[in-house]
Each structure stands twice: as C-alpha cells, then as structure tokens.
C-alpha cells in the first residue's frame, strides 16, 4: 500500500507510452522507502520540540502555507491548463488536464522536507505544513477538483481518495522517523549529529537516484510529449515555489520561513496524485493520458527543486552575519 504511494510508475509504464521493460523493481521501491525513512530520521535528529513549538507559536507561516497550498496551486494549475493545454487536441488535452488539475490539488510531499532542509529553511515548519496540508487534503483536494473541474469538464468523476494510505504514509514516512530522530538527539547529540549527516548524504543520493532512474524509464514519454504539457508540468512546481515564496517575502516572513513555504507549496505529493489516478481510473482507457502530468511533474520537480535549493543556499550564506574574529 505505502510503496504504491511512493513510486507507482510501474502501472504507468504500460499505459503512458513508457517502455514496459523499464519498470521499477520491488527492490527499487523498497530502497526508496528505506531511504526516505533514513533521511527523515536523520533530519529529525536536527530538530528539537522547541522548534515545533515556535513554528506553532507563529502561525502566520502555517496559514500562508495553507492558503498558497490550496488557494494558489489549484488556481495555478487551472491557469496553466487554460492558457496552454487547451491549445491542443481536446481528446488529448482533457484527460491530461484532469491529471494536471489533480496535481495542483494534492498536498505537499515528503520531498519538500528534504529540499527545505538543504535550503536551510525551517524544517519544523515544513514538517508541520506537510502534516497539515496532507490532513486537510482529505477535504480540500476533492473540493478544489470539484470547483475548477466544473469549469473544464462536462462529466464529474467521483474520486477515490485512499484515506488510509495517506494517513499511514504520513505517520510512517514522516512523523515517526522525525520523532524518532528527535528522541535520538536528546539521548545523544553525537549520535543525532551523525544520523543527520548520514540522512543528508542519503538525501543527496535519493535526489540523484530519482533523476537517474526516472529519466530512462520515462524516456518514451519525454520524447513524445508536446511542449505545452511540459510547460504545465514544470511550470506548476516552478511558479508555485516562486509565487508562494514571493508572497511570504512580501508579508515579511523570515527568509528561512519564506523558503520553506515556497518549497512546501511548489513541491506536491506526486506519488499520491499517481495513486489517486490509479485507484480512480484503473479501468478508464484514458488512464495513461491522465497520468502524464503527474509523472512528468514528479520527475521535473526534483530537478527544479535542486536548482532552487542551490539558489536558496547561496542566498542564505550571503545573509549570514559576517562578524570579525572575536578577540
């Protein structure tokens, strides 16, 4: 169940013009699960309960994050669809648009926590935001789809949202390891710091692994997709990050929190979107088309976030206080 949330490109392979031989193996899926767990455990080892208390004490970030997550992202997806996707043949555009809208309506994923960490953002806020948006998604994702969907689609689809799956993933892959890491740090700062370093290293490996395995697997898809679809799939994440970051900066949130909100908003839970499509449209002949944007998005968000993170890190180092030698 959970593994299908993390990587479900397997089913995609047969249906979305992907070379059926290039499927993800069980081994790879298990490896990814272990990696995410180790990463989140390590990142958790850098946190203290006080970090969470502070993030909750100043709820502006959380509120802005919620608004950008469920206000901006679906609207952004809708705008991109209307502007670009509908230039294409409706037989292709409509199912692809559904996937794109869904991609804009799902909550934030664990990957956002990893990139927040590397961006020197506020990891505690990131974890709270992911948890918050994931729980709200049970209500907000269908709502956003219903609202924007009524403008685009003639038929209404009754979404199959895998509730148990969502909550189980949240608890097992995010909250549990983070709390475990925090406890470990309390017990030994040294073990915590070692785990954090290890988590960071695995995190880098994780990002490289995703890019290295997803590109060949989706090669066929990559070469046959029109530029409008690319623009939607890449633009959703890229613009999402910068719009949310811009809003957060404009209302004078601390740069670390603004970076967090940007990444948290722009980075959606791709695997969840894929799982929802598979659960809802398994028998639909268009399932391969609906999956195009979630699949492309999941690939490109890793690349986009990597560049954004490099930029954020530079900004952070530049903003560090330069003090002279003390005595």
């Amino acid at each position: 169940m959970i593994s299908s949330l993390i990587v479900s490109a397997q089913s995609l392979a047969t249906q979305a013009q992907v070379n059926p031989d290039e499927v993800v193996t069980d081994f790879e899926q298990t490896l990814l699960l272990i990696m995410v767990f180790v990463i989140m455990f390590g990142l958790g080892a850098g946190l203290t309960p006080r970090d969470f208390k502070l993030a909750l004490k100043r709820p502006q970030g959380l509120i802005i994050g919620f608004l950008t997550q469920f206000g901006i992202m679906p609207l952004l997806a809708f705008g991109l669809i209307m502007l670009f996707l509908f230039q294409l043949d409706p037989a292709y555009a409509v199912p692809v648009a559904f996937g794109a809208l869904l991609m804009g309506a799902v909550p934030a994923g664990t990957t956002s926590n990893i990139f927040t960490y590397f961006s020197k953002g506020n990891l505690a806020l990131s974890v709270i935001m992911t948890t918050n948006s994931t729980l709200w998604a049970i209500l907000m994702t269908p709502l956003a789809l219903a609202i924007y969907g009524s403008f685009i689609f003639t038929q209404e689809a009754q979404l199959e949202i895998p509730f148990t799956n969502i909550v189980a993933t949240l608890v097992l892959m995010l909250l549990l390891p983070v709390i475990g890491g925090m406890i470990l740090r309390r017990y030994s700062a040294n073990v915590g710091a070692v785990m954090e370093l290890l988590g960071g290293l695995v995190g880098v490996f994780f990002i490289l692994f995703l890019m290295a395995t997803w590109v060949p697997r989706n090669w066929n898809l990559l070469t046959t997709t029109p530029w409008q679809t690319y623009l939607v799939a890449i633009g959703l994440g890229l613009f999402g990050i910068f719009i949310a970051y811009g809003i957060a900066r404009a209302i004078r949130l601390h740069p670390a929190n603004a970076r967090t909100i940007g990444l948290e908003t722009g980075i959606q839970n791709g695997p969840l979107a894929i799982a929802i499509v598979l659960a809802t449209f398994a028998d639909d002949p268009n399932v391969g088309l609906i999956l195009i944007v979630p699949a492309l998005y999941s690939l490109f968000i890793v690349i986009v976030s990597t560049f954004v993170t490099i930029w954020f890190r530079r900004a952070n180092i530049a903003a560090e206080q330069k003090i002279p030698n003390l005595l």
């Binding site: 850098g46 203290t48 006080r50 502070l54 740090r185 700062a189 040294n190 915590g192 710091a193 070692v194 954090e196 370093l197 601390h254 670390a256 560090e320 206080q321 330069k322 003090i323 002279p324 030698n325 003390l326 005595l327």
Partner: protein, 600 residues
Amino acid sequence: MRFTIVGAPAGGAPFGERSTMAQRPWLPHYADDVAPDLGEVTFSHLPDLVRASARDYASTIAFTQCMPNGMNGSLTYAQVDALSDDFAAYLREVVGLAQGDRVAVQMPNCLAYPVVAFGVLKAGCVLVNTNPLYTPTEMVHQFTDSGATALVVIDMFADRLPEVLPRTSIETVVTVKISEFFPPVVAGIIRMVQKVWSRTLPTVTVPHTAFQAALAAGRAKKSTDALPGYLAGIGHDTVAALQYTGGTTGVSKGAMLSHGNLVSNTLQMIQMCGGYMRPGVEVAMTALPLYHIFAFTVNLLGFYTLGARNILIPSPRPPSNLKRAFENYKITWVTGVNTLFNALLNERWFLDSPPRHLRASAAGGMALHESVAAQWRAVTGTPIVEGYGLTETSPVLSFNPFGPNAKDGTIGIPVPSTELRCIDENGKEVAPGTPGEIAAKGPQVMLGYWNRPEDTAASIVDGWFRTGDVAEMDADGFFTIVDRKKDMILVSGFNVYPNEVEERIAALPGVIEVGVVGIPDNKTGEAVRAYIVASTDVLTENTVIAHCRETLAAYKVPKSVRFVEELPKSPIGKILRRELRAEAVTSATASIETQGRELS
C-alpha cells in the same frame, strides 16, 4: 567555596595605605555578598589551583567541545588532570624541557587546549599563547622574542611551519587535532570532513609528534614522585605565561604574567561575581578564544576553579555556529565581547529561544554598547555587566557590580584588592570627574615586559601600572573610559598599532605618506582606515589591502583606504592622527546611524 576568602581584617584593610573612603570611594558599592578585599590566597601557583579543582569535582564534566552541527566531545575534571600530568611529564621527561622554558601554544578552542595549557604549567614551563590567525611574520616575532623551544599547534595551521620554524628556536613540534578526545566514530567523521570536504588539513612536513603519541610517551614516563618536583621553587612571583600585546610602541611585547597574577585575578573575578557564580553548577559558553587573556582567565581558569562546565566553541563565526551549543547545553553564563552579544541579538534563533537557564553575562575586550546591554537584558531577562582590563593586568581590573549598584556605560568599580586612579601627565591624581590616565595597582599587575626593562620601567611607575586609557572617576568610584591615550586602534578587542600598519603601507612603491587611524565601526567597534598620499594613480584601495594581507593578521589590515592630497601635520612635521580621526569620525558617524536603523 573551597578557596578561602577572608574579609578585610578589623581595623584596616590589608591592602596598602590608601584605603580610606576618600581614596576608595567605590568601597560601599560592592554587591552585598562581595568582600572588598581578596584576603589570603591559599594557592601557591596555578597547578595548585587546577589540581584542587580536579580533586573537588573529579567526575564532573569540565570541558565540552561543541561543533556547529552538534558533534561533541567531553573531558571530566579527573581526565583533564591526569592528561595534563601526562603532558607535563612528556615535556619534562621526553622532550627534556627545564623549568621556565617557554612553550608556545597555538590552537582554537578545543579539548586539547586545557590539557596542553595545564600541562605546560604543571611542567613548570611558561605558556606562550599564540593566536592561530597570525601570519608567519607575526609567528616568527612571537616565537623568537619569547625564545620558545617547543610548539603545540593545531594541525590545520601547520602548513606555515616550514617557513616559520627555521627562523625560530623551536625544536619540538606537537600537533593536535580539532577532534582530539572525541568519540572515535565522531572523530573519524570530523577528520574525513576536514580532509575530503573542507580540505582544511594540510600535510605536516616538519618533524612532529602527534598529541596522543606525546601523551602516551609522557604517561609511560610519568611518576607521581616527579610531578611535584617540576614545580619546586615556583611561587606567586614566578612567570607563568608570556601574553603578547602591542603595548605602547607597537612592537608586540610579552607581558610576564606570574602565577600570583593569574591566581589572584581568577579569584578576584569570581569574588566580584558573588552569588552569580555558584560552585559546581555553572555551564559557561566559551566562544571567545582561550589564547586571549580574557577567556584564559575568566573561562579557563575562573570557571575551572568553580567546578563549572566550559562549552568550548572552536569557531563562533558565523554566529549560527553557536546554535547547537545553546540548544544542547543548559548555558548559565556567557562571556563575550560586544561584537558577540550584538551578533547573537541579530540571530533569529537566539531571539526565538534565548537560553532559559542563563544567570548572567560578562562583557570585556571592548566597550559594551549601552543599547546592546539593554537589549541583552530584555531578551534574556538576566544581567550583563562590563569589565575592564588589559593583557598586562591578567586582565580584570574593574567590573560593574551585579545588582542595583551597576552603572551602565561605565566600566564599574575596581575588583577586590585593586586600586585604580586617574592621573595627570605628572602622575598626580586628578579630582573626580576630571579625565586622567588610569593607573592600576593590585596583585594582578604583571611583573613586566619580557626582556624589555625600559618598557617595563615606563609602564610601571612607583608600583602603579599606567594603562594608557583615559577615564573619569565619578564620586561613587565608578570609572568611565573617555578615550585612549595612545592612538591604538581597538578592532573587536584586538589592539592594532597604527605604526605597524603604517610601516607596512609605507613600503609600497608610490606611497609618499600614510596615516592610520581607527574609525567607529558597527561590528568591530573600530575599524582600521589608512590615509595615503600617493605619487601615482596606480595605487588602489585593493592593492594596499592586498599588500597588507601578506604580512599582517586580518584584523590589522585596513578596512578602508582614502587617498588624500596631504595629511594634517604638527609644526615639527609629525602626522596628527587625532585630526585624521576627527575627520573620519564625522564622516563615519552618519553612515553608522543609517546602519543602526537598518538593524532595528
């Protein structure tokens, strides 16, 4: 408390003849639990003091070194004691040093530092603290001037040794690692990061002994019978450390600090803090470098004497390096300079969760801005007081009393058994409220400058040390610094002597004249600025700065350079630095005010 503090005997203070109220108007202003005199000092030398602490607090953690990511290592009092005995035995039995031989120590704050420093003292040798940021030229001067024959150096900076050693009398080199005494796995990771990632580990090409090998060799030769012998004949008046300072002429000189100086100043400082320093419970943030006299006396000696736990920070730059230390340890004391307090107050994480267990903070090294002090109190809810002193005075001379008697903006009142007075150019005491050079008398005043009797005679006159700082004393005996008598520039607590920088710049082709002054700076208190009359347009600010960087430590390098038509001069042709400074201050004040607004 273990050490005895005897109050002033009835019928008169034990300290000199000048003890009446009129001459010591500060007497009523000590905190209630502070005796105005030190009383009998029962420790005969520094090893006596550190061994007593080790006995009383054997299993307590004495030092914890905390890296920016939270990785850490610790030593208990018993471990520090045993290891420094090993090192003493190594110096005496293996290296063959004799009593009074100088040992240069050059490392940032790390667990090896206390072991080495106490080891040197226990060996009866003289400690020569050396700034690791020194350039080869500065190292050569300090090593040759002190006549050091052994050097204990952090391996990260050992790449300068091939250039330095042949020009000195150093025969023995011991290298320490930053991760010394860390758990093996953590030490291994730190080592790997240094080697592979940050590439801060140069290959050491000169013959050297690794610290652990030195300790093992010392341990093998150590005998409990021999250890006391290393200290035979050592007393209060024996030199314990040569602490280098620019003094008045700009040539770096070694202030001879005796065992008595350092023991006394440690006890004076602790006594002055009264109930704010509780034996056996304090946890001190030691972000200032221990090689500097302030942290050496206050943190290394003071908190060690108290049975406190020193949290050693190898590098406080950037200030976010202190975050994990503040999170992971219940810090009760912070010692720092204005720059550090101000930097912390500009860190979001610090403002979000100021240390909850903090009791008090002490500032020194440079003037503590009243605004910084006020904000620190508001944020932490605990007192911060400013002290004053010089390398030559071990260093603490005065301290603001804790409690309601403190007067912000002043350097407080003399610490117990210390007398300060403001004198005019003829050495006569001036009336309260009148500016005069501070002269100091007390058990912490140095023996003199190493091998420089003329300088010593010029600075210690009739038993009074002339500080060169001009201050006013108010009717209550509180002192306020007015100006520095000399043109010395104070960059983050480092003395910069214009002569030295001017000489360096004058060596550049195309420089006709140069005047170096200090200008107010938000971050460093003062910053070095050079005024140059040049014969060519080729000279630029960057070339001057680059030229200075070659041989001067970073803090001495001018932050700004101005090219001018001519320099203000006295009738006999002496460059008037005071006028240059006045001009610089007028132009700089405006910019500081703008910066201040941005910060708030």
